[in-house]
């Protein structure tokens, strides 16, 4: 018998966890450490005219203040370099960082962050992605649609022409905040030899190191990003947030600098699950054969792309559902708004699409008076089928799963929809 496989083993760090000895982000300290607070925009859309930090700098105990002017290369992002470390000339959502303060105590840092004066001209904001797609909508960036994908398979017009019934529906999903119980925590130390060490609560330390290298214009050989135990992530700790601000403050003061997000910042200045608007249109014959499906997905990116493109591509390849459909057209748009930035969250775009296509599948089955489970069994993909993206399936087991589900749940396939 294997000592590992099939065995129920305790977590390797279980004893540390239950005795309170696991070190999480905020638990890490350094001697001489300063406390950081970030001044956030607090307004959704504006032209940023001036950031006056003089009153903050005059407060006893304030050791350093940084703004966009201090950032060597003020743009980062996983697929699009559209997000500034600190807002430069424009505010695009309430959580935009405007300045960072390092002080001898958290109270002083907080007081100083509030003392920073922001001069701005407020712009009309857009919070609805469908509105943001209109030509006369307020422009969050130069173009409100940073990315757009289309999947075409078969002949959609022919498919709809062959259908006995066409069912059209609109599904929407909402913002979801990850609410990991541990807030983001970051500690940066730029040491006298010119090496930067950053402890940060991220799921992707190497991505953060690479982003830090770009925005600080530092070689990666001088940057170490270390991750302590992470108190929950769920995708919410998937990207750089304010590590560069904390690092710049350490470079400016020569002291270690630590920042811990408040719960309020977790809700207003970190990523969320993208809300999707999804239009589904399906053509079906009375015998349950699906002839065509057209899908349009609009993902609310919020102020910056972040993981918006990657989550959307994942939603795109799943959007038609695991059903045999000869004619498919899927369009997917990522749209900037002045909302919170959408990011990675468990399922990475797929839960939104899954919610829509499974609810829609029920509707289609009901429209032709067929039991939804029977309808799924008739149409589910099997080995050898080709998906709209061109992928040919091997070892598909959905039919077996559906059969098992029916028997386990007591679903009566023959007798109506079982409700």
């Amino acid at each position: 018998m294997s000592p590992v496989i099939g065995q129920r083993l305790p977590r390797h760090d279980a004893v540390l966890q239950v005795t309170g000895r696991s070190l999480y982000g905020e638990d890490i300290k350094m001697p001489g450490m300063l406390y950081c607070k970030v001044r956030r925009a607090g307004i959704p859309h504006a032209r940023l005219i001036e950031v006056d930090t003089s009153a903050a700098e005059a407060i006893p105990g304030v050791m350093g203040v940084v703004t966009a002017k201090d950032v060597p290369f003020n743009a980062f992002g996983f697929t699009h370099l559209d997000q500034p470390v600190m807002a430069q000339d424009k505010i695009r959502y309430e959580g935009d960082a405007i300045a960072g303060v390092a002080a001898t105590s958290l109270e002083v840092a907080d007081q100083a962050a509030k003392a920073i004066k922001i001069k701005y001209e407020e712009l009309p904001a857009v919070f609805d992605p469908l509105e943001a797609m209109k030509p006369d909508a307020p422009k969050v960036h130069k173009d409100n649609i940073p990315t757009h994908f289309t999947v075409v398979h078969g002949d959609i017009e022919k498919g709809f022409a062959e259908a006995d019934k066409i069912i059209e529906e609109r599904y929407t999903t909402q913002f979801v905040e990850h609410v990991h119980i541990e807030p983001h925590a970051q500690l940066a130390y730029y040491d006298p030899t010119g090496r930067l060490t950053v402890w940060t609560t991220v799921q992707r330390p190497f991505l953060v190191a690479s982003d830090l290298g770009k925005v600080l214009k530092m070689p990666l050989s001088k940057i170490r990003v270390l991750t302590p135990c992470i108190g929950g992530g769920f995708g919410g700790k998937n990207e750089m947030t304010t590590e560069a601000i904390v690092a710049l403050l350490s470079m400016k003061t020569g002291r270690p600098v630590k920042l811990v997000f408040t719960r309020e910042e977790e809700f207003t200045a970190t990523t969320v699950r993208h809300p999707y608007v999804m239009f589904y249109k399906t053509g079906v014959k009375m015998d349950g054969t699906i002839t065509a499906r057209e899908v349009k997905i609009i993902s609310d990116a919020g102020a910056y792309v972040s993981w918006g493109e990657s989550t959307l591509t994942k939603a795109l390849v799943h959007a038609a559902g695991p059903y045999r459909i000869p004619n498919v057209r899927i369009e997917a748009y990522l749209v900037y708004t002045n909302n919170n930035i959408g990011g990675a969250m468990r399922g990475f775009g797929v839960p939104q699409a899954g919610y829509a296509y499974e609810c829609h599948t029920d509707s289609v089955a009901r429209a032709i008076g067929m039991d939804p489970m029977e309808f799924r069994m008739k149409n589910c993909v099997v080995s050898g089928d080709t998906l709209p993206t061109g992928q040919t399936l091997q070892n598909a087991t959905l039919d077996e799963i559906l059969k098992k589900l029916s028997s386990m749940s007591g679903w009566k396939v023959a007798g109506g929809d079982g409700r």
Partner: protein, 166 residues
């Protein structure tokens, strides 16, 4: 900025006498974590919602983020660091490990202290009582089922050894 007044307080922390100079607006959580170095007690929300900072004050589970430090003068505080007796884990800690009741572990210290307060008061709780006992503690990883199972298991084991281990 007006300076808050300073208070000299003494209390027992996991059985040992400690003293600290605290400001009137310091929370017990801050004094434990920042002044005394007891980082086992976690800070999650600072508004009494998540329960990650749960400690026992005179045996009762409280949110350390909601109690001002001067208020604990003369009282007995128990934190996660005092739950085990040296290397000997408390039955609750053992059961949490055996049942895989923690994933990221961040809610663990607070969850365990709430569970201890519960079992000290109700040694043989029903599942419903366990769920009520930890209703002030949020866990985003586990779905609670294994936590509930672990607490029930610990209560049975403690009953078997005659309540020893409290």
């Amino acid at each position: 900025m007006t300076e808050a007044s300073t208070h000299h307080i003494r209390f027992t922390l996991n059985g040992s006498e400690v003293s600290a100079d605290v400001k009137a607006n310091d929370t017990l959580l801050n004094v434990l974590r920042e002044q005394l170095g007891y980082t086992g007690t976690k800070r999650g929300c600072e508004t009494g919602e998540c329960g990650a900072c749960t400690v026992l004050v005179d045996g009762k589970a409280v949110n350390a983020c909601l109690i001002l430090a001067p208020k604990v003068d003369g009282r007995a505080i128990q934190t996660i660091e005092g739950l085990a007796k040296g290397a000997e884990l408390h039955p609750l800690q053992k059961a949490f490990i055996e049942e895989g009741a923690l994933q990221c572990g961040f809610c663990g210290p607070g969850m365990l202290m709430s569970a201890k307060a519960l079992l000290d008061e109700i040694p043989n709780p029903t599942e419903d009582q366990v769920r009520r006992g930890i209703s002030g503690n949020i866990c985003r990883c586990t779905g609670y089922a294994k936590i509930v199972k672990a607490i029930m298991k610990a209560s049975r084991q403690m009953a078997r050894v005659g309540g020893e281990g409290a």
